[in-house]
């Protein structure tokens, strides 16, 4: 078989005519309408406006995804918007509830700290052995309860695997954003051994959390506390912790993504992400590289923001377990070899259907999960502009 290099965007093309794209996007419009409105359209004009903007925003992006056949840029637009508005919404929530971003001792004693998915790996061993969760949060009810976060995590793991890290995680959009700012990376060489670091962090935090019955990643390392909430500095220990997580934020979420064009926090540090990689094994959607069409141009290796495509993995026909299903490699592949795939089906053929199925699961997840937060964030910003205060 001779390998022809197909002309850009032709054989590869999953481009659809506007009419067909509209039809294919129609179910998404209905589903998001149903899910985001919860059955009733808000009557209050400002809320209606925010709702309409959010709704149109998502559906325009989805339409474009289908129409252009490109995934990553539209995904990233929604994903980054989510991360930014999440911060706006979360911080104003905190100010509303307690007047500052810092977590008071009171909230900890009362067990009212919002739970986030990053804590999950650390809670598992203690939960299995003591039937308790080592986190000062609420099991059910209230804002971001533990059980509801677990439910969402299980749902995401079943339906998306590590796709969570590109379509669900409300923090991931930050390093995604910073990894897109420069046109060319200034730092190219990353020792592949660094990709083991998340596993080491996972091992270390899971063990220390079990030994000390305390969510050690949250107290010592989590960079995202910088933009959400953190304990008020009342002791030397907390000062040290604060210095650590703020420096990690600056290094892993801002500076390194800028320099390397990779999502360094997510692929070189985050212990949750490492664990989530395991769920890729049981997930039906994956990315495959068809060895018959691949011209070995290595664009995917260069482009993958998570270092999940290596030369060996191109040869093996699939990215590593750490793949976040962002679609970058699929988009840059000039020959159409890299594609979304449904397990059990042959690698070749039916590209559109497979992609569409994955996009329906992933985009729906993103739209529903982030819809409320994005609306809240938007209304806070409107309030800030009109009244001068976000709360």
């Amino acid at each position: 078989m001779t390998k022809e290099h197909p002309s850009q965007g032709k054989t590869v093309g999953v481009r659809q005519s506007p009419g067909k794209s509209f039809l294919l996007a129609l179910p998404m419009m209905l589903l998001t309408l149903m899910m985001m409105s919860g059955g009733k359209i808000p009557a209050d004009p400002q809320r209606l406006f925010v709702f309409a903007v959010t709704y149109l925003f998502f559906n325009l992006l989805f339409f474009l995804m289908i129409h252009t056949g490109k995934t990553d840029r539209y995904r990233a637009t929604a994903f980054i918007t989510y991360a930014l508005l999440f911060i706006v919404s979360f911080i104003s929530h905190m100010f509303e509830a307690r007047g500052s971003m810092s977590l008071s001792e009171e909230k900890i004693i009362l067990c009212e700290v919002p739970f986030c998915h990053l804590v999950i790996p650390m809670t598992l061993i203690p939960a299995a052995l003591t039937k308790t969760i080592i986190f000062p949060g609420m099991i059910t009810g209230g804002f971001a309860s533990i059980a509801s976060m677990f439910t969402i995590w299980i749902g995401a793991s079943l339906s998306l695997g590590r796709g969570w890290c590109s379509w669900g995680c409300f923090f991931g959009g930050l390093d995604d954003a910073f990894s897109r700012i420069l046109k060319k990376p200034l730092l190219r060489k990353i020792d592949p051994r660094w990709t083991y670091l998340p596993w080491a962090v996972l091992l270390a935090v899971v063990l220390t959390a079990a030994a000390f019955l305390s969510p050690t990643y949250c107290t010592w390392l989590c960079p995202f506390k910088t933009v959400t909430e953190f304990q008020a500095v009342t002791s030397f220990k907390i000062l040290v912790q604060t210095i650590i997580f703020v420096s990690l934020f600056i290094a892993l979420v801002i500076v390194l993504p800028l320099l390397t064009k990779r999502r360094t926090q997510c692929s070189l540090f985050c212990p949750f992400g490492a664990m989530q990689g395991l769920t890729n094994r049981i997930n039906v959607f994956d990315v495959r590289i068809d060895p018959h069409i691949c011209t070995n141009c290595k664009r995917c290796v260069k482009a993958c923001p998570t270092l999940s495509v290596t030369e060996e993995s191109v040869r093996a026909g699939r990215p590593l377990m750490s793949c976040m299903k962002c679609g970058t490699c699929v988009d840059v592949c000039p020959s159409g070899a890299a594609a979304f795939h449904v397990r059990g089906t042959p690698v070749e053929g039916n590209r559109n259907i497979k992609r569409l199925l994955f996009l329906y699961a992933a985009f729906l997840f993103l739209a529903i999960f982030s819809g409320g937060t994005i609306q809240d964030g938007l209304s806070r910003i409107i309030r800030l502009i009109t009244t001068g205060s976000m709360i």
Binding site: I109, C111, A211, L364
Partner: protein, 152 residues
């Protein structure tokens, strides 16, 4: 065989889309189920442990929780006991309490809480009572955690 795998694959993929919807539509239901099926609670290291006794002082009361030494398996050497004074509106400026948490009829420590200055003074009367770990005002009242250490 190939065909069956093919169909199974697509069916599973469709099921994933449904799973996304179910995750959000049924979130309340699934969370409640998850909580009741596993029976997990918040670790006493955060919740403070179960309430064992409450001393009535008329207008206000002193709530005593069980000493927490829970380890991953078995017990630890270091622990704490949480004491609360409620309700916040009825508390006198100064509270003096003698606490017997071992239940042997002898006071294990005395605690003096100055609700105006927000200061607590601990007088250990049992070698396992070490120091005040936390003292905070919450909306229901004042909460103190006293560090304990098992003496062998």
């Amino acid at each position: 065989m190939k065909r069956a795998r093919n169909i199974a694959g697509y069916a599973w993929a469709v099921a994933c889309v449904v799973a996304v919807l179910a995750t959000f539509i049924g979130n309340d239901y699934f969370s409640a189920k998850l909580a009741s099926a596993t029976g997990v609670t918040i670790s006493p290291w955060y919740s403070g442990g179960e309430i064992v006794r409450s001393i009535d002082h008329g207008a206000y009361r002193t709530v005593i929780r069980r000493p927490v030494f829970d380890g991953l398996i078995g017990e630890r050497k270091e622990g704490f006991i949480q004491i609360e004074w409620q309700p916040v509106t009825a508390l006198p400026p100064v509270i003096e309490d003698g606490i017997d948490f071992t239940g042997d009829g002898k006071e294990d420590f005395a605690f003096r809480l100055d609700t105006i200055a927000g200061r607590g003074t601990l007088t250990p009367r049992n070698p396992s009572v070490i120091a005040v770990e936390t003292l905070v005002k919450v909306n229901q009242g004042w909460v103190a955690r006293i560090q304990l250490r098992k003496v062998s």
